[in-house]
Symmetry: C2
Subunit: 411 residues, 2 copies
C-alpha cells in the first residue's frame, strides 16, 4: 500500500515511505482506552518529545466558538517550544464554559506531569461530542496509563485520536537532505461530522530535523494553507481544529532558512499534509468520490469564492456522488458565489472535457464525460476572466450515508 495514492499529490523524489507508524528520533507516543468513547475504543493519546530544545509551530481553527483546549493552547502555551501533546477523543470540551476550562487546565497539568515537561510546553486537543462536560478524571487516568505505554511507534496514538474516521490516517517518511536523512511523521484525524460530534480536524507532525521555530512556523503555515485549508467535507468549520508541528533536532541535521534543504523539507511536508488532507476528504462521512475544483481568473477573492461555492454546493456534491456530469450545477454554483457579476464569461471543463465556453454550453462527447466522472477522483476546472489568480479546493460528495450518519442517529 502506498500512502501517496492520489493523482493530485506527487511524492517528491527524495522522499521515501517507511512501513508502519514509526516516529522520528526523539519522539514517543501512546494511545489508551480511558472510557470516554461509549465503544470502549482507545480515546486518550499522549505524544512526548524528549529533546529539551525542541521547536514547534501550531495552527488553530478560526471559528468564533473555540473549544477549551484551543483556548488553553493559544493562551497558556509556548507554541514555539511544545514538547508534549495530550489528546482525547469522545468529547470536544466545547461550549462547556468555566468548568470546561478547568477540565482543560487539569488535562494540561496531567500532560506535564506524565511527560515531565513544563506545563506551558504541553498542548492539549479534544474531539467528540460538544456541549457535554469533559470527565477530566478519566482523561487523567488515561494519560497516566499512556505514560507506561510510550514507544517509538505512533500506531496506538493515531488510533486513539479517531472519532468517526473509518481508517487511521498516518504516515512515516524519510527525507533525504544534503546534510543527511531526516524522518518526518504525522497522525491526522477527521471525517466530517457524526452526531453528536464536531467535524474536528487534528493533525500532529513530528520530525527529527533541527528547525528554528521561525522556520517551523513558516513551513507549517504555508503547508496548512495548501492542505487542510483547501478541503471541505461539508463546509463546516470546527471549534477544535488544530495542527501542530514539532521538531526534535535529534537527527542533528539542521534545516536552515532559505536553503535548498528548506525547500526539500517544505516540499515533503507539503506532500505529506496534502495527502493527509485528501484522506480526510476521502473519509468524509459516506463519501464515495473526491472532487477537486481548480479556479483561475484575475481576482483572487472571486476565484476563492467561486471555488468554495462549487466545493460546498450540495447540488454539485450530489452530482459527484451520482457520477453525473451535471456541469450546469457548477455554472450555477459559480454564479451564486459571485452575485452581481453578470454577465460572467466563464469556461468550465470536467476531467479536461470542455463543456462550457464564455458562459455558453458547447458540444461535447457526453458518453466519454459520463465515463470520466465515474472514477474515484473527479476534477472540475473553472476559468473566470483575467489571469494571475488561482486556487483549488478538494471536496467529498454528498451521499445517502451522510444523511444517515447525521440525521438518523437521534439522541
Amino acid at each position: 500500500m502506498t500512502f501517496f495514492d492520489s493523482r493530485w499529490v506527487d511524492r517528491p523524489a527524495y522522499v521515501t515511505e517507511l512501513p508502519g507508524a514509526g516516529l522520528p528520533a526523539g519522539f514517543r507516543a501512546a494511545g489508551v482506552a480511558a472510557g470516554l468513547k461509549p465503544s470502549g475504543d482507545p480515546d486518550v493519546g499522549l505524544l512526548v518529545c524528549d529533546a529539551p530544545n525542541a521547536t514547534s509551530a501550531a495552527r488553530f481553527t478560526a471559528s468564533g466558538v473555540l473549544a477549551a483546549p484551543v483556548v488553553v493552547c493559544q493562551e497558556r502555551c509556548r507554541l514555539d517550544a511544545l514538547r508534549a501533546v495530550a489528546v482525547n477523543a469522545g468529547n470536544a470540551n466545547a461550549a462547556t464554559g468555566g468548568r470546561g476550562m478547568d477540565a482543560a487546565a487539569k488535562m494540561q497539568g496531567a500532560g506535564a506531569m506524565v511527560s515531565g515537561v513544563a506545563e506551558d510546553q504541553v498542548a492539549i486537543a479534544s474531539t467528540g461530542v460538544i456541549g457535554v462536560q469533559l470527565d477530566a478524571d478519566k482523561v487523567l487516568r488515561g494519560l497516566l496509563a499512556a505514560r507506561g505505554e510510550l514507544s517509538a511507534d505512533a500506531a496506538s496514538f493515531a488510533d486513539a485520536i479517531r472519532t468517526t474516521d473509518a481508517f487511521p490516517k498516518q504516515a512515516s517518511l524519510e527525507v533525504a537532505l544534503s546534510g543527511g536523512t531526516v524522518r518526518l511523521s504525522a497522525q491526522g484525524k477527521g471525517a466530517g461530522m457524526i452526531q453528536p460530534s464536531f467535524a474536528t480536524m487534528l493533525c500532529f507532525v513530528q520530525t527529527d530535523a533541527a528547525l528554528s521555530a521561525e522556520t517551523a512556523d513558516l513551513l507549517l503555515g504555508v503547508c496548512v494553507k495548501r492542505s487542510f485549508d483547501r478541503i471541505s467535507v461539508d463546509g463546516q468549520l470546527s471549534t477544535n481544529d488544530m495542527a501542530i508541528l514539532m521538531a526534535s533536532g535529534a537527527a542533528e541535521v539542521r534545516v536552515e532558512a532559505q536553503t535548498e534543504d528548506e525547500g526539500r523539507f517544505g516540499e515533503a511536508l507539503d506532500a505529506l499534509l496534502r495527502q493527509l488532507a485528501l484522506l480526510i476528504v476521502r473519509d468524509g462521512e459516506g463519501a464515495k468520490r473526491v472532487g477537486r475544483v481548480v479556479v483561475t481568473g484575475g481576482d483572487q477573492g472571486a476565484v476563492d469564492r467561486a471555488a468554495r461555492g462549487v466545493a460546498n454546493s450540495p447540488l454539485v456534491k450530489a452530482a459527484l456522488h451520482g457520477g453525473d456530469p451535471n456541469w450546469g450545477r457548477v455554472v450555477q454554483a459559480v454564479g451564486g458565489a459571485l452575485p452581481g457579476s453578470a454577465p460572467l464569461s466563464l469556461d468550465v471543463a470536467i476531467e479536461s472535457v470542455e463543456v462550457c465556453a464564455g458562459g455558453t454550453a458547447i458540444p461535447h462527447d457526453a458518453a466519454a464525460l459520463a465515463d470520466a466522472v465515474a472514477g474515484p477522483e473527479v476534477e472540475y476546472t473553472v476559468s473566470l476572466p483575467g489571469e494571475g489568480a488561482d486556487t483549488e479546493v478538494f471536496f467529498s460528495d454528498l451521499s445517502h450515508d451522510y444523511v444517515t450518519i447525521n440525521a438518523d442517529y437521534t439522541t
Copy 2:
C-alpha cells in the same frame, strides 16, 4: 384548507382568503402543454393584464450567471409598466449564449403578439434544465394555444410553471381597504433543484388595486426581502429567479403612498409572499420539516451571516430532518460563520427551550426538547452580543430524498 397555515405568518384581519385560483379584475391567464417537459405536463403559461395603464415592479436573481429571459427582462422591458408574462417550464434557457438570447427574444415577441401589448411590456421567465438550447418554436406554439385558453382563473397557469414542485403554490385574497375591497393573487413555483434543473423561484403577483409604479416597486422590494430573500432549501442561488407584481387598477381603488391603505396593502402582500416562500421551503426536495432561525445582536452583518450559516449548515439541516435537538451544531455553524470572533458569547434556544447561555451548555429538559423538535416547524433562536440588529431565515431539512433526487437520477 387554509392558505395561511404556518404559525410564522399571521393573516392580517382585513384579508380574506378566496377559494380557487381566481384572478383580480383585469387579469387573464392560461397554461398549456407544449412538449417541453418530457412528462407531457403543462409547461407554457401566459398571463395578461387588460388594463392599458397597468403598473408593475420586478425583482431578479443576483447570480453572476443570468439566464437569457432574465437578461431580456432587465434590458428590454419597461419593468414599471408590464402587461404580460410568458413563462415556460422544462428548460431554463441558461448558459445558452447567443442562440439562447435569440430564443428569448422570440418568446417575448410571441408573448406580445398573443397578448396584444407592446414587446417591452412583456416579461418572460423560464425554469428547467440548463445548458440545453430552448426550443423556441414549441414555446411559440404553446403561447398561441394559451391565448385561446385565457380566463380569469390562474389554476392552469400555476400548474404550467411548476417543475419539481410537489404541489402548486397559489392564493387568491381579498383585502379590505378604506376605499373599497381589492383583490390580490399570486402564483409561485420552486422546490430546490432536481437533476438537471435549477432551483428556480418564480412568483407572479396580481392586484386590481391602483398603485403607482413607485409604490409597487417599494412594496415588492420590501416584501421580497422579507420572504423569498429569507428562505433556503439548499443555499443555492438560481440563474432564473424572478418576482413580478402587476397592478391593473380595475377595482378603481387607489393605494396612495404613505397612507393607512398602503400599510394594509403592504401587510397583505407581505403575508402572501411570506406564506408562499414557506410553501417553497416546505416543498424543498425531500423536505419533512421547516426550520426558522432567528438571530439577534448588535451587528447586522454578523447577524445575517450567522443566520445564513445555520440555515445552510448540512449538519443543522440533517439534525432537523432527524428530529434531533442537536444544538451543538447550531453553535458550531454560528462559530464557523463568524471566524475570528472568539470568544463569542452566544445564547441558543430551540423551541423556546434554552440550551446554551453565554456560549456554555445549560441544563434543560432533554425529553421535552426532543418532543418539541419532532413537529413540522422548528424554531431556533440565537442571541449574539449587542442589540438593534435581527433577522430570520426559513430553511428545509436535509433528507435522503434530497440526495436521491439530486444524485441518483443520472443523465
